[in-house]
């Protein structure tokens, strides 16, 4: 049994089980050493999905953020997550008000173009009211040539009722998918959970290594790697993760260490700029990133459904789950301490209602702790404006003055 009381994990001395993770890292390193080459080859999202589609793979478009990927894998459906497809927003503006976040706008723009890649339907998890409304619009008002599924994640604190509710919605989604895909065997689901479990462990290990400066990836490469989970097959992704070398030695001290929190990582141009400025993102609390991996190492899946339920409630505190602001702050404090960061970067998606609700309190609390905070608001547009550059540079100058040597 896991420490379901959310307080418990905050009192553990370690985020993930370090000794276990290290042991596993060594075993993994031994078993995959010969296949490892130094350059990390992360497949391009569009190319990868097009290849998958060409080979006859079923692909489902999944909107952010929390959904049972293992269940989709078990049905041999590849989830292709839709966060920030590039390009201009034209068609979506007809349907949405101006003050809707760019993730929802870009998501709808993508859907309205009826992309050929998506042949298995769309899944709308209930992440926020905007996405829930979008799901309703796409299903009932706009209409698309593929099925539309919704998945209403439980909100608030974990308790018996929410656990029961989550089991029910998982079961309902399974039943719905069985209508079009045939009965799901327990073995298939178990195998998918085992794969997910391996990925989780590797991800936890990499996050722990990131906090300890134990690999050579640039900021940009690190987040490319994390984001490849949004479109790769589980096994391919696990292979990719296994290719990342974790160093025994701690790397060269950067100019500054930052923790980034928010929905998505900063754009490539900002990450490149941080790389050039010798700034290292040493921990992340992103909805698209570590908020989707459990906070403790879970046991091997035995009963797959039970495993999936437990996994959901072991995910870190998140604004989109409305699980209590103080818990989120405590959790962030833990990441701050563990990663020994000098400052926190809030990478805020414009008009993101759940995040903005928490933000003021979190920023204020961090400033009270004496921790410098930079709030960058993004509309997910590419590039780095002069103003953004000035803000980041000024923040770094501020850290230069105050970073204890």
């Amino acid at each position: 049994m896991y420490p379901f009381d959310a307080i418990v994990y905050l009192q553990r001395d370690d985020h993930y089980k370090r000794s276990d993770l290290e042991q596993r890292a060594q075993i993994d390193a031994m078993s995959i050493n010969d296949t490892k080459d130094k350059v990390l080859k992360i497949p391009d999202r569009s190319d990868y999905l097009r290849d998958q589609r060409r080979s006859g793979q079923e692909i489902m478009g999944v909107l952010p953020a929390l959904y049972p990927r293992e269940l989709l894998w078990a049905f041999n459906i590849l989830p292709a997550e839709i966060w920030d497809p590039p390009g201009e927003i034209l068609l979506a503006n007809v349907h949405l008000q101006a003050s809707i976040c760019p993730i929802v706008k870009r998501g709808l723009e993508f859907i309205l173009k009826s992309p050929e890649i998506i042949n298995s339907g769309y899944l709308f998890p209930h992440t926020c009211d905007s996405l829930q409304n979008l799901g309703t619009q796409v299903k009932d008002l706009i209409g698309v040539p593929v099925p539309v599924y919704t998945f209403y994640n439980p909100k608030g604190e974990f308790n018996k009722a929410s656990k029961r509710y989550y089991s029910e919605i998982l079961f309902n989604l399974q039943k719905t998918l069985e209508k079009s895909h045939g009965l799901l065997s327990q073995n298939q689901l178990k195998a998918a959970c085992e794969l997910g479990h391996k990925i989780d462990i590797r991800r936890q290990m990499l996050h722990a290594a990131l906090m300890e400066d134990r690999f050579d990836l640039s900021n940009r490469e690190y987040f490319q790697l994390i984001r490849a989970a949004e479109y790769m097959q589980g096994q391919d992704y696990l292979d990719l993760l296994n290719h990342v070398e974790i160093n025994e030695q701690i790397g060269v001290a950067p100019r500054a260490r930052l923790l980034v929190t928010g929905i998505l990582p900063p754009g490539d141009d900002i990450l490149n700029f941080l790389d050039e400025s010798r700034v290292r993102i040493v921990s992340e609390d992103l909805l698209s990133g570590s908020r989707r991996i459990p906070i403790v190492e879970m046991d091997q899946p035995d009963d797959p459904m039970e495993y999936l339920v437990e996994r959901f409630f072991l995910l870190p505190p998140c604004s989109t789950k409305a699980g209590g602001l103080d818990k989120r702050l405590q959790y962030l404090k833990k990441l701050i301490a563990k990663s020994r960061c000098h400052g926190v970067l809030f990478n805020t998606v414009k008009f993101c209602e759940p995040e903005l609700f928490d933000q003021h309190f979190l920023i204020k609390s961090m400033k009270v702790m004496g921790l410098p905070v930079l709030n960058l608001e993004t509309e997910l547009q590419p590039g780095l404006s002069g103003q953004e550059k000035t803000r980041i540079e000024a923040f770094l100058e501020m850290l230069d003055e105050g970073v204890p040597v």
Partner: protein, 266 residues
């Protein structure tokens, strides 16, 4: 030993300033020019004029820091620092008890919290749009057919005021057009505009908090009407430098001096 000289160049979105100081940190020359389309040319021109005033040759400048929007386009700079740090250092030099600096320039406005050494502790900066910046006032002055000096008249602030509800420059301009069409007196509109821009700056001040004395820098500090409204709102007097536009360049020159002594002492 020959005296050492240091330079600071602030290439802003509207104006470019050059300041030269000596090793006693006394200002020997300061120059303000329009930036125009070519930042690096403006920087060179401003430096040349400052050198002439100080009766120095460029080779006599031991170190020079560039700052401002165009800080990267000053090829002869020995270092570059953001205008946020520079305004903090410059304001601290002029008014050592400063805890909060408000820099309102042509395109950006910033509120900076500094410690008793002039080091930045926190800052806030306006987002992309020109609301709450000098550009907003320029657009409105044009529309009202007033010179900036007239628009800045503090006498307007004491009279009646017509509230301007939009902070967005484009919307506020349409509001002004319709007010003019209704024959609303210009001074009443000006009063409303000054209050609207102060509200915008105020929200940044609140996010950082007011610490110690407040010093205002940047070209908008020349706007006496705005200073008056801001002082009312703050409930305290503002420190207003004699030449608010050159505070960033002064800070840059002081930083150049610091870096130079750091590099020669190691």
């Amino acid at each position: 030993m020959a005296d050492l000289f240091f330079g600071g160049i602030d290439v802003g979105s509207l104006s470019t300033e050059a300041v030269i100081i000596n090793s006693e940190e006394q200002v020997l020359a300061e120059v303000v020019l329009i930036t125009g389309v070519n930042g690096s040319e403006a920087a060179q021109k401003a430096l040349n004029q400052a050198l002439e005033l100080a009766e120095l040759a460029q080779s006599q400048i031991a170190a020079l820091t560039s700052t401002g929007y165009g800080r990267a386009s000053v090829p002869f700079a020995t270092g570059k620092t953001t205008e946020i740090s520079c305004h903090g250092v410059g304001a601290h030099h002029l008014f050592p008890s400063t805890g909060t600096v408000i820099d309102v320039g042509g395109q950006d406005s910033k509120v900076i919290q500094i410690d008793d050494r002039g080091h930045m502790l926190d800052f806030s900066m306006n987002d992309k749009c020109a609301a709450g910046t000098g550009r907003f006032l320029e657009v409105m002055a044009d529309r009202l057919e007033l010179e900036l000096d007239e628009l800045s008249n503090p006498a307007y602030i004491t009279g009646p005021s017509t509230p301007i509800s939009s902070t967005c420059t484009v919307f506020a301009e349409s509001e002004v057009i319709s007010l003019l069409a209704k024959d609303t007196p210009r001074e009443q509109i000006v009063n409303g505009l000054q209050r609207s821009i102060v509200n915008r700056i105020w929200s940044m001040v609140v996010s950082i908090g007011i610490h110690g004395e407040v010093t205002i820098t940047g070209g908008v500090a020349k706007n006496q009407g705005l200073i008056k409204v801001l002082e009312e709102k703050l409930g305290q007097k503002l420190n207003v430098p004699k030449n608010p536009q050159t505070v960033g360049a002064l800070g840059a020159a002081l930083i150049a001096k610091r870096h130079h002594s750091d590099s020669t002492s190691t």
